[in-house]
Symmetry: D2
Subunit: 445 residues, 4 copies
């Protein structure tokens, strides 16, 4: 997972600031590295480092990034690389000048394309798909950058939302299936592109619309031009954005992430009812579904687990002896709302099952008489090939165990998943328009 | 406000780890500086710096702090000091060896006592009350440290919860009114003292009880000894701990902080009803009261404001031009739950009014048709003299405006505060046992 | 200017340590950035950052760089780039796997070659000549890396000393003129390549010989193979290495840097005698020549300027008001050896003249009755095209003023430069074998 | 060892800058911690941390230290403390306001005085002698700070040079024996006090004179007042300042440190002649004596060891395997000047003998046919009680071995020390005026 932004704020040489705030709004999409590339009268400068957005950038560095056109990127750890080599945006020099790219997604034919390019003598500085895209654009360039991008879109397969900076243009691209999101907003003197609409709110841009699957948006001093380039593919928006990744205050492809999750909770309450005294959520991601479950079922919602907001990345892990004492560093049960009660614990997904198991145990330790786990999505049975960092099949508990044996493993009194039909209904779909590969094995590309 | 801990884990030379985790659990009580003093066979070493607990300490520094007896401190900025001079614990050398102290609270006669000591030739290294307490203990020491502490308790006036490290003892002290909290927990081979019970959960200690007002707890290799030293004062626990400061998963003086706040919300719904479509909270502190209000009133609770968890201290503030764009950095309204609705917005307090004003405006921008503000505590009309960093009287909106003019200032359609009686009822009081100085001017000391 | 190393220490997975110590020995050749690339069983990892070698690397980072084959690089600031993008070694992925390169020197046809490659669709990640060399090797690769390097050497023009890491080889290359130095040393189980022999001493390697101009050295598990590939060019070793850049304890192309400078001082004493009481040096670089001048002339050598070793890069520059007080931060005159004396001040070069002017003034302030400046090299009249960061022609005082007007500008009583013949004699040349472009305009390439 | 400064620059609120530059000039006297206390209209603020002066202070911190009166301190590691607790200046609050002190020296009755003060109820925050001095001043204060200082001087025994900041005065104090140095300089609108005159040059102050043994200098807005308070003690200036510690460009008590060392070399050449081809120094401290030796003996001086200026504190130590390769990290022999030669190696002192042994071996490895070691001071046979961090008696080779067995240990062909008489002659003494305790056991206090 990654988050991308693009900003063109005509005449404002501090456009990097908007890119910075946009990336902070998208920080949940990637915490490993952050970067901004800026175009100052055709000169592209890029700064990127390992770390959170507010660690990578400070006043001094932002003040060095002058220009009115910028793109940015936050990156989730997609590989074991310890160092910054694969951070984005990437910047290349090619025959037409400079090109900076930020990419969210994953190509399925990257290795093949990379091999073909290398056979033609191409060199690469990173192991990213993104550099393959950049190399293809450079290779396909014959005097028209848009044509070069179009030719590249014909060759690359998989998911990609891109923000591209040329010597004088900001370009947004979304793959033909629309797997990864990209939205468009308006500034007084320009435009903002971002992975999610919450980034538009954060920089004070007005939401205009989603970039369409297969669309190329070209923004420069003359305004914005739209090219619907790939139009023959079925839309296959990633369902996991709606269940899990996107911020609840984002609206993607016309759907409120909060509402989708609350709906999922409501439908879950119908599909998987429980006799209980209270509905609890696993904060923060399970909260909207828990509220939906409570409202639909009539069982009162209450706060059951308190999250320590200060337990971050640099936190020192407890030693074995402390772990055995049952330390509650990150989540502490609120005994008042649990003790002696039959609780429904709502979470948005179960991936490996280890976290659920710990939480069920903590709820029991806090005195819960029964623990009924309800999950607002179906079991994950397959890995994502389009950019989400799901674990391997061996680790995916949903791919290896029945619901009953998962229940046993996590120690719940009952366990119920939302059905795929229920989830599709929650996002307003009649069964199409979404990629459900990881839930039913139906890989679109 | 500050947070303090004390740990004696007999024979475990890594007691600093438990102090560290305890301080992380108490991080909400002070973010300016953090420190730990450790006793290693009578040698006391202290490390303290400006910053969050996990910034101040890393593996290397913790590994240098060896010993089985430790105290710790997190400090809220109580003065303009830019540098670390006033960080705690403080460590002094005196005739009986070393003494380390962590203090939460504020003396009302500190200046007087300091002047008297200086007249007798005493020198001080800090401007803290804590060093005055330490100097008095040293001055009163005549061969018995407990007597020295008792003599000191007779002289100092105000609020104090203390953890003290001597050459061979861990001592906990709470002032005679019990204004600041202090709880006691049990480890397999020792004890833990902490400002709040959530710190006990975090280090895996079993909650035993609150330290009693006026009590001295002496913990050493022979076990624990309790001395109820000051017993003639009325209990005056700080109400603001319950409304605002303490973590919701803490239990202080027998009261669940979560329940107290939920109760406050319920009583508020009765005292200050509203005709509305939804109840929203100002996260995170307003959430328990909002849920209570919703449950009592029958108006559905929903999530109305999304908090960006990554907007921390090192965040770069937006420029004026970006502020005018209406950037939503920290709190973003969730339009789905607001648009076209009459909303009740529940917060735990209004101090200066500026934040409430911004949020009301943001709710209106998001389409709220009516905004009814409900506050789960009475107006703050006076400054705290016992350790809470309330603004000056000039800044306290409750001390200077009527409820109606506050409503007008923050732009709400209606505004209702919880009554003092209601608040006392929420914490289970029949009218006594609590300090209500900042709410009704009744200063106990 | 840059410094490069290459290490192959068969079976020692900590070869990065030797690269690190070698770079520390070469730190005087570049203080802007430092980097090491390591080959661990065919996997190349690279770490590079802005800063001194001992700032960029610490125990933890070195421990992550496992492998028995390494190259390293220190880089002098050759452009205005604020960020790390142009740091070396560079690592590329190409059809034959990975390739890491460290380069000292400068191509004169880099722009032309880069343009040709870009026209063929090549992309670049940096603006360095080094990446052009890498791209040409990749492009020329047809199954034999040595052939690819040879084909590249036929195309690139200018100065280059290279250390190259392939999936299983360490390769050293020196351009046909031998402009930049490269020496070869022996470890018990391997070899070391370095810009200067002092790096061999530092890592405990035995000096074997200089790499010959035009030679390719291929080192792998089967030993070392030498290919004298370009043999038809006249040797044109950079004279400035001998005058100025290389460490005095280095031996390059058979010449001791210390002896060359002492000889220069001796010949200078004959060419430009002075009637004086003492000979002083501008530390540290002027010291060998000053000692030579003193020994030849019979005028006693003494220490005249004390250098503050703690005034480094992060030093805060004095304000104007302090500058006017005549602060002596970096060099402080030793009045005892100056007061009332006629002094000869020996320096190795005068580039802009501003430093010399300040020192002459400081010597007069310290009471010198006469100041005779002697320079152990001829006036610099042209910029270097082969990798030394000389100022522009406008700034080069030797290119714009007569000796007499330079004397006047720096305020000396007399000024004498070493002749080019004298300098060549000092390095043992009969007039050939050296690049003298910056001294007489005779550019070899 | 420590270095201290005091600055009063009337009306210049950036006096901290001069203190900073002064401390940089004195950095050789202490590298463990650095600190500056500033007086801004009676308010004293202090910033101090572990590290070099230019690591501790940056532009931002200096800009927070506003005021026209400042003192500063650099501290050598005098104990095992890992943390900053004992850094100076120390600042105390006492009945008359604030007091900041910087101290160079060591009291011999500190423990006794500390015990007496503790018995009277005094508390201390550090384990330094300096806080004992501060406590005595506070205790003795009866309305007149000068009297309080005088009363304190009557009680404390040992060595002390002090700079003191009161609410409106800068005070300099030197102990009655004058063991530690302190000099006075003039700014246009104020004065500077410093441990050495090189600090005056660095801040552009004119040297006036040394502070006299037993003198108190009081500087405030009305000018400077001198009180010669203790006048009945013999002067006992530390000889090691002249041999070793002070910078060669400093003039202390009327003696040029450079000249003293050169003289010592000259006298050493007469006392301990050698038949040799060249005289080498151990850089940097042995250089003046080596030049003196060479000039007196007629044996030519040459550079024999090149010091790597980049091998600093953060340098990673080589592993055992690299050490065995004979790595030459810090000092590299210059073979040209050594090979086949009989060398005289001049150093300023031999403390433990381990470094000398390594260097002798390195010279032999570089081809020296004979190595004659000459030391420009007598053997150190006792520890210093007045502030110099000499090793314990067990480690002092001069206290435990004869000259012949030291020669054997270090592996030299011959070894000769300067006599005490010779050293006293070198500093211009007829046998009195200097502390020679560590050389002949004659402890003055």
């Amino acid at each position: 997972m990654c988050g991308i932004v693009g900003v063109y704020d005509k005449g404002n040489i501090n456009a990097a600031n908007a890119a910075y705030y946009g990336l902070v709004a998208l920080q949940h999409r990637g915490q490993e590295s952050a970067g901004i590339a800026i175009n100052n009268d055709g000169i592209i400068t890029c700064y990127k480092e390992m770390g959170f957005v507010n660690e990578v950038f400070d006043d001094k560095i932002l003040s060095l990034l002058k220009g009115d056109m910028a793109i940015g990127h936050v990156r989730y750890s997609t590989s074991g690389s310890t160092f910054a080599a694969n951070a984005q945006p990437i910047v290349i020099k090619y025959k037409n000048g400079n090109l900076a790219l930020s990419h969210n997604g994953s190509l399925v034919n990257a290795d093949l394309l990379r091999g073909q390019l290398e056979d033609q003598g191409m060199i690469f500085s990173t192991t990213t798909d993104t550099e393959v895209i950049a190399a293809l654009i450079a290779r396909n360039y014959k005097g028209d950058i848009i044509k070069a991008i179009q030719n590249t879109m014909e060759i690359i397969k998989g998911s990609y939302a891109l923000t591209i900076l040329t010597d004088n243009k900001l370009i947004g691209v979304r793959d033909g299936y629309g797997i990864r999101p990209l939205v468009l907003g308006k500034l007084e003197n320009g435009y903002v592109l971002a992975s999610e609409s919450c980034a538009l709110d954060t920089v004070g841009a007005q939401f205009i619309r989603d970039v369409r699957p297969g669309e190329i948006l070209v923004i420069d001093k003359d305004g914005m031009k739209s090219i619907d380039y790939i139009t023959n593919l079925p839309t296959k928006v990633c369902l996991f954005e709606h269940i899990y990744f996107a911020r609840p205050d984002s609206i993607i492809d016309g759907i409120s992430m909060y509402k989708a999750r609350e709906n999922a909770g409501r439908i879950l309450a119908k599909e998987q009812p429980a006799i209980a005294d209270t509905v609890l959520s696993v904060p923060d991601s399970g909260t909207p579904a828990a509220i939906g479950y409570a409202n639909e079922s009539g069982i009162p919602y209450s706060v059951g687990l308190i999250k320590n907001r200060y337990v971050g990345r640099t936190f020192i892990q407890p030693t074995q002896s402390m772990r055995e004492l049952g330390v509650k560093l990150k989540l502490n049960p609120l005994k008042e709302n649990i003790k002696g009660k039959r609780v429904v614990m709502v979470d948005d997904s179960i991936v490996r099952g280890t976290t659920s198991r710990k939480i069920v145990q903590a709820l029991r330790d806090a005195g819960a008489s029964e623990v009924h786990v309800r999950v607002s999505s179906p079991p994950v049975i397959g890995s994502c090939r389009y950019g989400i960092d799901t674990p391997t099949m061996e680790e995916l508990i949903g791919a290896n165990k029945t619901v009953e044996s998962i229940r046993e493993y996590i120690g719940a009194d009952s366990l119920g998943y939302l059905s795929l039909e229920g989830l599709l209904a929650a996002v307003g779909s009649k069964g199409d328009g979404f990629c459900t590969a990881c839930l039913n094995g139906d890989y679109p590309v």
